[in-house]
Amino acid sequence: MTRTKQYKIKMTAVAISLLLGVTSLAGAAEVKVGVVQVLTGPNSKFGGQTYKGIQLAAEQINAAGGIKGVGTVKLITEDTGGNKEQAVDAFRRLIAQEHVAVIIGPTLSSEALAAGPIACQRDIPMVTVNATAKGIPDVCSFVFRTSLAERQLLPLSVARAAAKYKIKRAAIFYANDDPNMVESYAIYKDAAAKQGIEIVDVESFATKDTDFSAQLTKVKSMNIDAIFTGAYPDTGASILTQAAKLGLPKNIVFIGGNGFNSPNLISLAGPSAEGVIVSSPWYVGKADADNVSFVKRYRAKYQQDPDTYAAQGYQGMMLVAAALAGSPNQTSAAIRDTLAGIRVTGLFGAFSFAANRDPAGVGNAVTLQVKGGTFQPM
């Protein structure tokens, strides 16, 4: 055989196998959903729980045959370690190499603000289920947020607590190194002004601080009715236990934001967490059928109770699946438009997006208080 003929035969063989390969790929009928969450490092408790919720939802969808007309859900997960540069890289990888249809994530507001522009450049819808800082959906029309922001939940907590406990004087304790907490300070100030509550003292600290004896001793003698707190569970639990140790008056009511909304707060602070008030879009004891079945399935798979982050992950995946199913075709623009107009009822009650792609309302948000070691409706 001449060399040209050999070459031609080889090339034909290559072409045929490529064709077969491509057609076999097309026949797989799956949709890739990117997941970008914090799975390692100090913030992994938030992202890890969210990821568990997303996984549970994806499994449930695939067990029922996948998304109608689209295929099975394949989750492609990237860990950011809480680092916004890694979040940006994760987005780039998922979009350019994995060709995902949608990205669920990131976890933290700082990551969302850094990586959002990447989704915008490549026209891939991004749904964050945790980030709560101001202005995230404003990055561009492809960025959506399902988590209720502090600015929707905190005023609720303050108003309900003020009504129940007749709060007149309060102090604000907030972590000044986290944009969420700095924002909650401003929101507390506003909400207090609206309720006619006098803010007698403002104390700040770093998220990683462990000693609050100075700040707590200072407010002990100021005759306050409440302390409005902007901190994450670790820091919050330290504040609560030290307040109890220092003998702060027991009638002081602690109000927390999204950061306090975690069973970790109770397990760390123990009896000092009694009476803490937090508003939440969801809590584990919600009695509707959707939630009961979600909690049961979560417990069976993970041997622990879900928290709000897990519920938000689950809800987020369900929302994305509904958008993919309802979209007239699988182009990014169509998926984005379907997502923007979506109306579903799920773990958080009736859900839809407002014009600015934040949740349209507070849904079934409930104000909870720690009683007997668990969060109960106040």
Binding site: T40, T210, D211, S213, A214, K245, G270
Partner: protein, 293 residues
Amino acid sequence: MFAQQLVNGVVLGAIYSLFSLGFTIIFGVLHVINLMYGVFFALGAYVSLWAAQSLGLGLIASIALSAVVTGVAAIGLDALIVTPLRRRKERYLASLLATMGMSLFLYALLTRFFGAEPMRYPSGFSSETVLSFGSVSISVLQITIVGIVLVVVAALFWFLKKTRWGVAVRGVGDHETAALLVGLSPFRTTALVSFIGGSLAAVAGTLIGLNFNAVQPFMGETMMLQGFAVVVIGGLGSMPGALAAGMLLGIIEILTTAYISSAYRDAVTFALLLATLWVLPQGLLPTSTARRV
């Protein structure tokens, strides 16, 4: 209120000193920046937590077990990472990078085994009694911490000045080659210093973890910056220096928070550090050693 704030400051100061004692002895004697110290701190807390939960041991027994286990782990890890680098010319930089890398790996390992969630000691593990003297409250645990810091500083001071092993440690710290020439084994002395550093970290980790009742893999990291500042302000390798600097820092931080603003807390620490480097670069209570000219 001032009295209570002063008490708060002394307790915080004792905590900073306790954390820094092991750090300063490693830094001052072995002349390496061992960033794995933060890991030993957390490891010590986890071992005593495990001892309390699984073996049901009391406070003293758990601390003792944790000190020994962490000390041995420190010997192993130091021999693996630090000792080979001490012979190199760039010992400070190389040890900084290598121990930083190893500490990241170890943190991931700790997170893998224990999870990132903070854990609590079982209730009743340490006395929960809070004593009140008028308007000042202090818990028995906090008094214990202050007491232990003073005892440890005195013990280490005596060890380094009065015992043969202590003198050997100082000798190796001063000039390794000369120590070799007079027949001191640098390997054994290094191992001894590693053990002491590791056990001190473990004691600190247990007590501090107990005081704030949260044991999580990164608990050492939050203390590292303050610990570093204390070590430099007090003078490298100086026990009384670490004590003085720790107390000073703790008191100043608390009083700043109480009377100026809590926003300036960290700023104060680093302003003090800068001031020391500017005015007294050898630290507050430097170890008096002959310096090569």
